[in-house]
Each structure stands twice: as structure tokens, then as C-alpha cells.
């Protein structure tokens, strides 16, 4: 082996090892995050955390029950608002639309998807909060739902498109109407993918903080109904982490662990649903 070749092989081996190190570093961040959250937050998770209201500074104990309920309420609203728009929009794109309309809608959805979440917050503020002069659960749910639309729409469309055309033709040939075909053949064929899309969109907005800052604001107490300022887990983490009290920091870690746990579980479930079924369309 000539020295030149030896050198080239050495460089090749070295650089390829280096790329492996890069990959290792990148992946290890996930385990570092999980490790720190479990280490700092694990001890503060107790029954009280899920059932009690926050207590004033100086008192120990208390929990984030109001934030958990607040997040749940807003995520429910977000899903009720975001999923139908994403789902039916996707059906239109995949089954009905012409090329130009589809391009425009897709472009708008991608644009909306790329908008920084804080700007979504401003938009929801000027549309829902400002006219009524009231921070509310509704406004928070609206902002989150808005973010769910493009995510649900684009991936649902991918999955609907991956249903083979034979299915459509077969149903039509049996005399089914277009709607009957969609409802009884196409959507059932793609349902795993659609479910995955919805779950991933849900997990994505579950951790969003910025759009809630000036729509739902926050609340140290329960918020009854849908038109009051509402506490949410992510905003609570933000406020508690920045506050100068050790006890609040512990609570922030615990809330972070709960939130991340929820999001990772949804992600894993969503991917599991997908992998046990149809082929994955590559987007």
C-alpha cells in the first residue's frame, strides 16, 4: 500500500468515525434531557402535584392541578377546531381539487406551518382577545387549534394519496357515490396514517407556550367556564422556572417531566400505530 493510499484510508476512517461521534452527540442530548428531568423533577411528583392548586410563595406543597386541567381544556378545544379543518381540507385536496387550487391551499398550509408560534399568538390575540378585551380558554384553544390545522392537513393528505387508485375505481365500479367511496373505502384504508397525523399534531401543540402567553395568559386558581384566563402546563413551567424560588423551580422540573413524558408517549404511540399497518409515505 502506497503511503498516499494509506493516508487516504486514514482520512476516510477518521472522518467517518467523526460523523459517528456527531450522531452519538445528537442522540445523547435526548437522554441527557430525560435524565435531568427525571433527576430534578422525579422527586417532586406526588399525588398533590396532580390534585392541588399552586400555593402562595413561602408555603411548600401545592400542585398544578389547575394547569393540567387548563391544558386539557385548551387541547380539547384545539382538537375540536383544528382536526376537522385539517381532515376535511385534506379530503378536498386529495380527492376533489384541481392542481391550481391544491397548490394554493398547500402553499398556504405550509406557510401557516412555518409561522413562528409567537406570531400565531399575536394573531389569536388580535382576533379573539382584543375584540372582547378578555384573555380566555377559548382564545388559547383557538391559537393551538390554528397550529394543528396545517400539520394535520398536510400529513393526512399524504396518507390519503397513498391509498391506491384501484380502491377508488373498485368502489366506483360497484356503484358507490364519491362520498360513499371516501367514507367507506378511502378513509378506512388510511385511518392509521390519519390517526398518527392527528396524534402528532396534538403532541406538537401540547408543548406550545408562546401562543398561550397572550391568549390564555395564566391563572393561579381554577378557571371556571371557557372565558377566563387559564393556566396551562407549559406557561406554568415558564413562569415557575424564571421565578426566584427554589420550591417553584422544583415544581417547574416536575411539570416539565410530566409534559415531556406525555408528549413522548403520544409520539411513540403514534409511530407504533403507523408501523403496524400501511406503508409509510415518505414526505
Amino acid at each position: 500500500m502506497s503511503p498516499r493510499l494509506r493516508w487516504r484510508k486514514l482520512v476516510s476512517g477518521f472522518m467517518l468515525t467523526l460523523t459517528g461521534v456527531c450522531a452519538l452527540v445528537a442522540v445523547s442530548v435526548l437522554f441527557l434531557i430525560l435524565g435531568y428531568l427525571v433527576y430534578h423533577g422525579g422527586t417532586s411528583i406526588s399525588w398533590n402535584f396532580f390534585t392541588k392548586l399552586p400555593v402562595p410563595v413561602g408555603e411548600t406543597g401545592g400542585g398544578m392541578a389547575n394547569a393540567i386541567l387548563g391544558s386539557a381544556k385548551m387541547l380539547l378545544l384545539a382538537s375540536l377546531f383544528g382536526v376537522p379543518f385539517g381532515f376535511f381540507g385534506a379530503i378536498y385536496l386529495a380527492e376533489f381539487s384541481g392542481a391550481t387550487t391544491a397548490f394554493v391551499v398547500r402553499y398556504a398550509a405550509d406557510l401557516l406551518n412555518g409561522v413562528p408560534s409567537i406570531v400565531i399568538g399575536i394573531f389569536a390575540y388580535s382576533l379573539v382577545v382584543h375584540p372582547f378585551r378578555q384573555y380566555s380558554t377559548l382564545a388559547g384553544g383557538f391559537a393551538l387549534g390554528l397550529m394543528m390545522i396545517p400539520i394535520t392537513l398536510r400529513s393526512t393528505e399524504e396518507f390519503l394519496r397513498s391509498v391506491p387508485n384501484d380502491f377508488r375505481e373498485g368502489a366506483m365500479a360497484l356503484g358507490a357515490s364519491k362520498w360513499k367511496t371516501i367514507a367507506t373505502v378511502i378513509v378506512p384504508a388510511a385511518y392509521r396514517g390519519i390517526l398518527t397525523a392527528v396524534l402528532l399534531a396534538f403532541a406538537r401543540v401540547a408543548g406550545e407556550t408562546a401562543p398561550l402567553l397572550f391568549t390564555a395568559l395564566g391563572n393561579q386558581f381554577w378557571s371556571s367556564g371557557w372565558t377566563q384566563p387559564t393556566a396551562s402546563l407549559p406557561v406554568m413551567i415558564y413562569t415557575y422556572a424564571l421565578a426566584p424560588y427554589d420550591d417553584w423551580h422544583r415544581q417547574a422540573w416536575a411539570a416539565g417531566l410530566v409534559l415531556l413524558g406525555l408528549i413522548l408517549v403520544i409520539n411513540i404511540v403514534a409511530r407504533a400505530i403507523l408501523s403496524r399497518g400501511m406503508a409509510v409515505p415518505r414526505s
Binding site: V27, P84, F85, G89, L112, G121, T209, A210
Partner: protein
């Protein structure tokens, strides 16, 4: 047609979003004009609003984050696409996808409690010791600041770079690699001189995507940048970013002009990310078309 209405409303919402941002910042746009971007006094009491420090902070933190994230992310993507067996690659990609799902407020929590003390006690003093002659690494080590925000942002955008770049590298036709290897190239040479250049446009696309994310990122940056509108050559100095100032001041804005100036900042952010996302998509489409054209002649 009911589904048409749903689809059309997506377009409507997007148009409305642009309209609201434009309309909501009309006072500030008329009063300050281009001076909004050129002056650096941000004073709600005297109603003087100049956004330069925020724009500076946003650009500097994004630049720092890309300097770290691009080599690391592309390196990892090369490993996943070229070297790792399919099974390992898919498993690692699964972890990377999970990493991309971590909410930004959690990066923020880790930022203030883990990264900031680390920066203050070890990294910043060490940098000062070795590179203190550069203006970049001078001044007191507060822990918070441009550098810390840039590092946290880098950690956040790496998953995006990896996922997209891996996808693009995998779409490079096999013949390209085989041709290079058969000419006697080493594994690295075929990767670096043939496969990567082939996928260049798509990799740039992933970088633009990451840049768009970094510019618009709010929570994590707000928690570690220091929230002090300064323009300083030193990366140790506390700064401020567009998204952070909106997050901090929007609910407490003291007057119509203050709110409108913040909305104008939102408009700036929107336009920046709009342009970058557009670029990213174009580049990615270009690569995948090139791949499929050569792959299936």
C-alpha cells in the same frame, strides 16, 4: 362542496394573518418608517421604538446556532445515511424525531438550570482564557447572553438538520456511490466528493429550514438570552431577540404605539421566516427531482 370550504378557510386564515399583522402595525409603520430598523432606542415611556438591538440579537443568536448545528447535524446525517446499517439508522432517526418533539419551554428550563451555570463557571472563563484577545470573547461571564442562546438554539435545530439532510442523502441514487467507489475512491471520498455535492441543494434547504426555526424560536431564547437590548461585539453580553421582546412586553404594553411596534416586530419575523421557508422548500424539491430524474432514467 363542504370540504372545499374547509380547504379554502386555510387560505383565508393565512391571508387574514398577514392582514392582521399589516393592519395592526399601521401606526408604528407610519410613525417610524425605516428608522424602526435603524435606531436602537426602545423606550415605551417616550414612545420611541427602534428595533435594531432585537434584530441584531435574533441574527447573532441564529448565526451562532448554525455555526454549531450545521457541522454537527450534517455529520450525523452522513453517518445515518451512508454508514449506519438500515436498522441502526432507523432507530437513531426515531430518537432524533423524538428530540424534535421536545417542547421549547423544556429546552428553556434545561437552558437556565444546566447550560447557564455551566457557561458561567466553565465554558466562558475557558473561552476567555484561550481566545480572550478576540472581541467576541470579552467582558464579564454572566452565563446568559448571545452565546448561551445560540448554543441552546443549536441543540434545538440539530434534529431538523439531521432529519431533512438524511432524507436528502438517502435519495441520492446508488449508482453515484458505486461509480465513485469503482474509480478507487475511499468510502469518505465517495461520500464527501460525490454524494454530498449531489445532495447539496437539499442540505442547504435543511439549513434554511433550521435558520427559520432559530429566528422564530421564542421560549428557550427568552429564558437564556438575558433580555437586555444591547448591541455588543461580545458574545458573552446579554442581549434580546425579536421573539423574546414580543413574549415579554406584549401583555404589558403601555400604549397603542407600543403594542403596534411589537406587532410590527411580529411582521418582520413573519416575513423573514416566510422567505427562508420558501427557499428551503425550493431547494429540497430541486434535489429530490434531480435524484429521481437520475435514479430512474
Amino acid at each position: 362542496m363542504i370540504t372545499f370550504l374547509f380547504a379554502a378557510s386555510v387560505v383565508l386564515v393565512t391571508v387574514l394573518l398577514v392582514f392582521e399583522l399589516w393592519q395592526g402595525s399601521v401606526l408604528s409603520r407610519h410613525k417610524f418608517g425605516f428608522n424602526f430598523f435603524r435606531t436602537s432606542v426602545w423606550d415605551p415611556i417616550f414612545e420611541q421604538f427602534g428595533a435594531l438591538p432585537f434584530i441584531y440579537g435574533t441574527l447573532v443568536t441564529a448565526a451562532v446556532s448554525l455555526l454549531i448545528a450545521v457541522p454537527l447535524g450534517i455529520g450525523a446525517a452522513i453517518f445515518l445515511a451512508e454508514l449506519a446499517p438500515a436498522r441502526v439508522s432507523d432507530t437513531l432517526e426515531f430518537f432524533i424525531d423524538l428530540l424534535a418533539a421536545v417542547p421549547s419551554v423544556i429546552y428553556g428550563v434545561l437552558g437556565i438550570f444546566i447550560v447557564v451555570p455551566l457557561m458561567r463557571q466553565y465554558i466562558q472563563p475557558a473561552l476567555k482564557h484561550s481566545f480572550g484577545f478576540l472581541p467576541l470573547f470579552q467582558g464579564p461571564a454572566y452565563g446568559v447572553g448571545f452565546l448561551t442562546a445560540g448554543i441552546v438554539l443549536a441543540i434545538m435545530v440539530i434534529p431538523y438538520i439531521i432529519s431533512v439532510s438524511r432524507e436528502v442523502l438517502l435519495s441520492v441514487p446508488r449508482d453515484q456511490r458505486e461509480a465513485a467507489l469503482s474509480l478507487g475512491a475511499t468510502h469518505w471520498e465517495s461520500t464527501w466528493k460525490v454524494v454530498v455535492p449531489f445532495a447539496r441543494a437539499g442540505i442547504f434547504g435543511s439549513i434554511f429550514l433550521a435558520l427559520a426555526r432559530a429566528l422564530g424560536e421564542t421560549m428557550a431564547v427568552t429564558m437564556v438570552i438575558g433580555n437586555n437590548p444591547t448591541i455588543s461585539a461580545s458574545l458573552f453580553s446579554p442581549g434580546y431577540s425579536i421573539a423574546a421582546v414580543i413574549a415579554n412586553e406584549f401583555t404589558e404594553a403601555t400604549g397603542e404605539l407600543h403594542t403596534q411596534s411589537l406587532i410590527e416586530l411580529g411582521l418582520v419575523l413573519f416575513i423573514l421566516t416566510f422567505i427562508l421557508n420558501g427557499f428551503a422548500r425550493l431547494l429540497m424539491v430541486a434535489t429530490s427531482q434531480r435524484g429521481s430524474r437520475l435514479g430512474h432514467p
